[in-house]
Amino acid sequence: MKRILATLAAAFVTVSVAAPIGPASAQPSRELFVVGFGGGFQDAARTTLFQAFQAATGQRVRDDTYNGELARIYAMVRSRDVVWDVVMVEAPELQRGCEDGAFAPIDWSVVRRDKFVPAGATRCGAGAVAWGAALFYDTARNPQAPANMAELWDVARFPGKRSFRFGPKMTLEIALMSDGVPREQVYRVLSTPAGLQRAFDRLEQIRPHIVWWRSGAQPLQFVGSGEVAYAFGFTGRVVQANQQGARYNMLWDTLLYSVDYWAVVNGSPYAQQGMRMIEWMTNLEPLQALARIWPASPAHRAFQEDATLRAASPHSVAANASRGLFIDTEFWVQNGEDLERRFAAWAGR
């Protein structure tokens, strides 16, 4: 028996000693890895931001997509095997990841702070673009359609499935607004237990009519195939679909919007290059190039202050922001995790 163990032990020692030598010694210097949410925005950013940065600086860049979940980034940071360098993150996740050490603090000596809108410069994130979601539907399939959030709940007058993003963020706000809560009071109401219950009760009313989506491409697939009659979808993707021939009507008055950030993964061996890339990508010229091919709303001061820049892309979130609800980052940083759990339990019950 002892001999068996000794043999096995010897085999494992051999394996475990030999294993790291192979890949580690052959590792070439890799490209800078940028990760975003995909879709039309990333296609546009690939040419106007990523590849343009590569052409300007010689730093090779590769990009990939994820759906905004932090798990892989946490796993990389904890195992000290960081292969993503620059990532696009939503505001509450950025702050959460910053507190948890998943993102490195932005080097504000490399990235110029003064070019961002006030909310665009945070400890671990540099503002990228504003994004929004709004209600849209296919006019060919639905000649009669709800005109606002309250009518979206009228399943007798407007039959068909409704699609929202799976999760409490945006969904609870929509539920309250459909119940008559004015935009500016949404988070005050949502901060009380009674207000939360009211939002969940409101959702319960149309529960059988709801189909949830998890990735940004899904609401367009659902509406495009007729599976769902009315959906909240990312505005940029809906605008792009219309440019490609779809006949979707989007209600800008149902807009909910927020800002995405660029962040550098903590422990990235390419952190310095990442900072330089973020500095480059948030400059006015590349952003203007981006705005020419995608209805983007960069978190750059000039786009906020210069009306002609905004008017140049009428289908951007920035041009329609006054009609929408700004998603309260602080509320979701404080309550997001607990509400996600409560929401998941409610949805699965």
Partner: protein, 399 residues
């Protein structure tokens, strides 16, 4: 000293070493990590090491002594700075709502605190003077916690440390485990009902024909589960093939809701799992000697009796093997319910993925995974005890 037989033994063990390695690295090690993750509780010790040390030696009566407050005041701003406070505050918030805000607020101002620290904390927020809060911190100064395992069965720790039921709007896991087992059972029974005649037909064919049919059966294995499930989505959607056909035939006026239903989950899962049932059945049925049936017939047994007394008992090992395989694989299904099921058709894996990906709460994911493993293990053990004995009896009876 080592004779020929010894050398041969060494050779055998060397040959078995890869298997041993596989079992160790692919099974035992992850299992150990799963168990460890489900009880691991090092957030407080990582973020506030000195406070943790002092809390461990505190007797737990009333409020802790001044040095604990002092250590906390010194360590909170440091933890915020080196980005370890986030994990701690989220961990404590998971146990007790409001802890996150309390800790972050204190960490922002603690630098300016002067002795006596206990009073400085209580002036900032009276909760720092509540014994329950300090019980919570003291509990979490320990390196292990039962919290995740309790939550996995809809229990939780009360403020005082006792075990209480989870609040109604977050209690879902008992229901979810039952639903998971139920779906896996239904899929297993459906596979058996559909697969048994198919396997019987296959076993009756000979040579080339049998090989061709087997190949057809295995064909679905060449495409991924994801692709096959997506195909079901396309078939079952509102304007999909199934609804178009039904309307063309005039069977329905309005399109039926087929997708995002439990029926769709069963359909897609049975489609994926059927070969896992048919193959073991086929194997068992091939081994049944047809002469036995002829003998029974010659003794005057009608068809049904032949089946019940001879064929069924002899195919029992195939039924047991196929059912076990289908059940154990089905119970861990994730993609299929996620794509074609509604929210009330999601299985436990969906929530494990939710805790891993969205909440980044690996403790909770590990606890649910561990519970699922224990559950499946127990069920398999019981099934083997019951079915195993009967199969043995049947074999003896036939012999």
């Amino acid at each position: 000293m080592m004779g020929p037989s010894g050398r041969r033994r060494t050779g055998i063990f060397l040959l078995l070493a890869p298997l041993g390695g596989l079992v160790l690295f692919a099974f035992l090690l992850p299992l150990g990590m799963l168990v460890w993750r489900a009880v691991d509780n090092t957030e407080l010790a990582t973020a506030l090491p000195e406070t943790t040390r002092l809390l461990r030696s505190w007797d737990g009566a009333g409020l802790p002594p001044e040095p604990v407050f002092a250590a906390l005041a010194a360590e909170l701003p440091k933890a915020a700075d080196n980005q370890t406070l986030g994990l701690l505050s989220r961990r404590l918030n998971f146990e007790q709502l409001g802890m996150r805000a309390l800790l972050l607020r204190a960490s922002r101002v603690a630098q300016g605190f002067r002795a006596p620290y206990a009073e400085a904390f209580q002036a900032l927020d009276p909760r720092w003077g509540e014994p329950e809060l300090w019980q919570l911190l003291r509990r979490n100064a320990l390196p292990v916690t039962p919290l995740y395992m309790l939550r996995a069965v809809d229990l939780t720790l009360s403020a005082g440390g006792g075990i209480v039921a989870m609040a109604g709007d977050e209690a879902i896991f008992r229901e979810l485990f039952l639903r998971t087992i139920w779906i896996a059972l239904v899929v297993t029974v459906l596979c058996l009902v559909i697969g048994y005649p198919v396997a019987w037909y296959l076993s009756m064919q000979s040579g080339r024909r049998a090989r061709m049919l087997l190949l057809l059966l295995l064909l679905p294995f060449w495409t991924s589960v994801l692709v096959r499930t997506t195909a079901w989505f396309i078939l079952l959607q509102r304007e999909g093939v199934a609804n178009s056909a039904l309307r063309l035939l005039g069977l329905v006026e309005e399109p039926l809701t087929l997708i995002f239903t439990r029926t769709a989950v069963y359909l897609a899962m049975v489609h994926v799992m059927l070969p896992f049932m048919v193959l073991p059945l086929y194997g068992a049925m091939r081994r049944i000697d047809p002469v036995l049936l002829k003998a029974a017939a010659s003794l005057g047994a009608p068809g049904w009796t032949q089946f019940r007394r001879i064929y069924l008992p002899l195919s029992l090992p195939g039924i047991a093997a196929g059912s076990l395989m289908v059940f154990t694989i089905s119970i861990g299904f994730y993609i299929t319910p996620a794509l074609v099921g509604g929210n009330r058709d999601q299985m436990i894996s969906t929530f494990i993925a939710f805790f891993v990906n969205q909440q980044v709460n690996w403790g909770m994911a590990a606890a649910l995974g561990l519970l699922l493993l224990v559950l499946v293990g127990t069920m398999l053990y019981l099934l083997q005890r019951i079915v195993g004995a009967r199969v043995l009896q049947a074999g003896r009876g036939a012999g």
